[in-house]
């Protein structure tokens, strides 16, 4: 494979202001063409912040970013405003958790999609509107022609999410960033949207980074998974690796604590404690206070990022000496 489409190296993001938050601490990620990467983590683990950094959506004044972010060979962190607005929507687009908040309430769906096509491709109004219709049909909105003139509030949640996907894909971006796009949806609608995204990804051959806290959702859509905890990636691997043979104690605990298939009345395995507050840069393993295997060296220095195989890394001292998996 040639150079990866997305290459994040040692990304560190700190929010300043009343209090300082070390949101992302040394994240490195790469994504090849046509791959679907799941970014799995709990709230506050830095997954959404990493996504936003990829599109430079973070507030300039309050954010300190270091490291490098390269997308399709371009340095995202060095872009000026004009380059950036050409880049957003054209090379990378993003869909969000709450479409009702992400869509503009005062324009119709058709106008919003057409605007993006006109802006990026310099298309005429008629061509842009035709593309908008084509996109709505692509995301399988029933009676698409009529829906072009609908305002976001006139649609149901699932429909709005489809419309947002249509908007995001209107200019055929190389990369789609999906930030918990199905979390706010009902179960029967969630699976429809997941299957739609899977199908569109295959048809259009784009790369997707899918942020989720729900391992079940990740299993439905991802090829590779990166698990985040306290602003760091603690484990990466193929979906099968992470689900079947997780090596880091955090994903191990997450998978064990799932209620899926747990017997009624049987006690659930839990990860004790709560995630750390991020008001200091990590100097040791962030998971150590909750970890059953913690050793003295875990609390003294940062754990090593051990590469077990290409694309399979574990940030844990336990991975250093190969132990037979239990």
């Amino acid at each position: 494979m040639n150079a990866p489409l997305v290459d994040i190296r040692d990304l560190t993001i700190r929010f300043t202001g009343e209090r300082t938050v070390y949101a992302v601490n040394g994240v490195s990620l790469s994504l090849g063409e046509g791959e679907v990467l799941g970014l799995l983590g709990e709230s506050g683990s830095g997954k959404s912040v990493t996504m936003r950094a990829l599109m430079r959506l973070l507030p300039k004044k309050r954010t300190v970013i270091s490291g490098s972010v390269a997308v399709a060979g371009q340095d995202v962190l060095a872009m000026d405003d004009a380059t950036l607005s050409a880049f957003r929507g054209r090379t990378v687009s993003m869909i969000f958790q709450e479409p009702a908040l992400a869509l503009d309430p005062v324009y119709t769906i058709g106008q919003q999609i057409a605007e993006s096509v006109k802006r990026h491709e310099g298309a005429s109004h008629a061509t842009a509107t035709a593309r908008a219709l084509e996109m709505l049909e692509l995301v399988r909105i029933p009676s698409a022609k009529r829906r072009l003139d609908a305002y976001p509030h006139e649609m149901s949640g699932g429909m709005r999410q489809r419309a947002m996907i249509a908007l995001a894909l209107a200019c055929k971006p190389k990369i789609l960033l999906a930030d918990e796009p199905t979390t706010a949806l009902d179960a029967t609608v969630q699976i429809q949207i997941l299957l739609l995204l899977r199908e569109l990804q295959r048809e259009m051959g784009m790369s997707v980074i899918f942020v989720t806290h729900d391992i079940g959702v990740a299993i439905e859509i991802c090829d590779k998974v990166a698990v985040m905890y306290a602003g760091q990636i603690v484990e990466t691997g193929t979906l099968g690796d992470i689900v079947r043979t997780p090596r880091h104690p955090y994903p191990q605990g997450l998978l064990a604590s799932t209620v899926h298939g747990a017997r009624r009345g049987a006690r659930l395995q839990t990860i004790p404690g709560t995630p750390p507050s991020l008001d200091q840069a990590p100097a040791a393993c962030s998971f150590a206070p909750r970890c059953a295997h913690a050793q003295q060296r875990c609390t003294e220095r940062l754990p090593p990022d051990v590469e077990l195989a290409p694309g399979r890394t574990v940030r844990c001292v336990l991975a250093e000496n190969p132990v037979p998996a239990s």
């Binding site: 429909m159 699976i191 429809q192 959702v217 689900v243 799932t258 209620v259 006690r267 709560t274």
Partner: protein, 364 residues
């Protein structure tokens, strides 16, 4: 016997068990709630049928789960049961007594408590955790000192060290800890029934498991009965003995949780179960079990409310609303024409009634 006995400190005792174990703790009959919407100048008046003729009962010591998608009326049902809003019709019997009749609202509120989804919004931001938990008992006439002691005892029970947390404010603790505070506050009045309305839905997965374990422990220790409302089928299966599946304000299936999971009779229940993401990368879902979004509960479809999304739709479904009927060979019931003998649906079981064949013959 001494002449002057010290007055006993008023201590909250749980409400007495009146009807004995055979009497359901909660008996709900034909519960209905309609909200009028619109109806402004020249605008047409419409009705949201949020809860429509819902009947069920909860036995003492049982955990009943309610599942359904947004807008199906699960939270409205909870609020009606708590008497947080008036109902249009229906009867709610708490251990055989009607609220406002033989059971006063004050005592009823002691008997039934509720934990809400949003742990932050349901706590007073200006009260410390200890004050919040002690508030209810004080209203019920417990001395300040005793109420505080009770609050600290409960904090300990829900896994919050009193010396660390008692004087903190809600914004100073994490979501999981706040939900523990809400649980402690609900338990402060020694309730018999606790309604948990999406109580673990907003929590991270690792914390969710902790709170579920806590709920199991508390149930055993205090002999509680739970009504557990959630959209997460895995959680409901784990915690419930019986389950109610709701769709657009109606109960579509009701029965022991394992039986409903293993042999769902209503197409909607089947779709809900099939829509759960598989936890096996080799068994990914290939086809969405149903298409479309749940219809708007304003003026829901006539007949069976699910007929607009159902793949077994036949004309009878749009005409007659199926009643909750026992599923053949099982202990559970479903509201679907396919389980009602002689309903007129071609997949309905053959019944002994002679009319059934005639009607079934009319359909293709």
């Amino acid at each position: 016997m001494t002449l002057i006995e010290p007055l006993p400190e008023p201590i909250l005792e749980p409400l007495a068990d009146i009807g004995g174990p055979a009497q359901p703790l909660l008996d709900v009959k034909n519960l209905t709630k309609h909200f009028p919407v619109g109806g402004g100048f020249l605008a047409e008046k419409k009705t949201v049928r949020a809860v429509d003729d819902v009947s069920f009962s909860i036995a003492k010591g049982e955990t009943v789960g309610i599942v359904g998608e947004s807008g199906c009326g699960k939270s409205t049902t909870a609020r009606l049961l708590m008497h947080l809003m008036p109902r249009n019709a229906g009867e709610i019997l708490f251990d055989g007594e009607t609220v406002g009749g033989t059971l006063g609202m004050r005592d009823f509120r002691r008997g039934m408590q509720m934990v809400f989804q949003d742990s932050y919004a349901s706590l007073n931001p200006r009260l410390t955790i200890e004050d919040s938990i002690a508030f209810g008992p004080k209203v019920h006439g417990i001395a300040d000192r005793d109420a505080r002691a009770l609050a600290r005892e409960l904090m300990d029970k829900v896994g919050l060290r009193p010396e660390v947390f008692a004087n903190r404010y809600p914004h100073e603790v994490s979501g999981g800890q706040r939900q523990r505070v809400n649980i402690a506050r609900a338990l402060a009045l020694k309730p018999r029934l606790v309604i948990l309305d999406e109580a673990v839905s907003a929590l991270d997965k690792s914390v969710e498991a902790q709170v579920l374990n806590l709920l199991t422990d508390l149930k055993r220790e205090f002999g509680l009965t739970y009504l557990f409302i959630s959209h997460d089928l895995n959680v409901v299966r784990y915690i419930s003995d019986r389950v109610l599946v709701m769709y657009l304000g109606q109960v579509v299936e009701l029965g022991p949780v394992d039986e409903v999971w293993d042999g769902p009779a209503h197409p909607y229940t089947r779709a809900l179960l099939a829509a759960m993401p598989a936890l096996d990368p080799d068994q990914r879902t290939q086809e969405p079990p149903i298409t479309g979004d749940p219809p708007n509960p304003i003026d829901p479809p006539a007949g069976c409310r699910f007929h607009t999304r159902c793949s077994f739709f036949e004309p009878v479904c749009a005409e007659v609303c199926p009643a909750l009927s026992p599923v053949a060979g099982g202990a559970h019931s479903a509201a679907c024409h396919m389980v009602i003998p002689g309903s007129g649906h071609s997949r309905a079981p053959q019944s002994l009634a002679p009319k059934a064949g005639d009607i079934a013959g009319a359909t293709p």
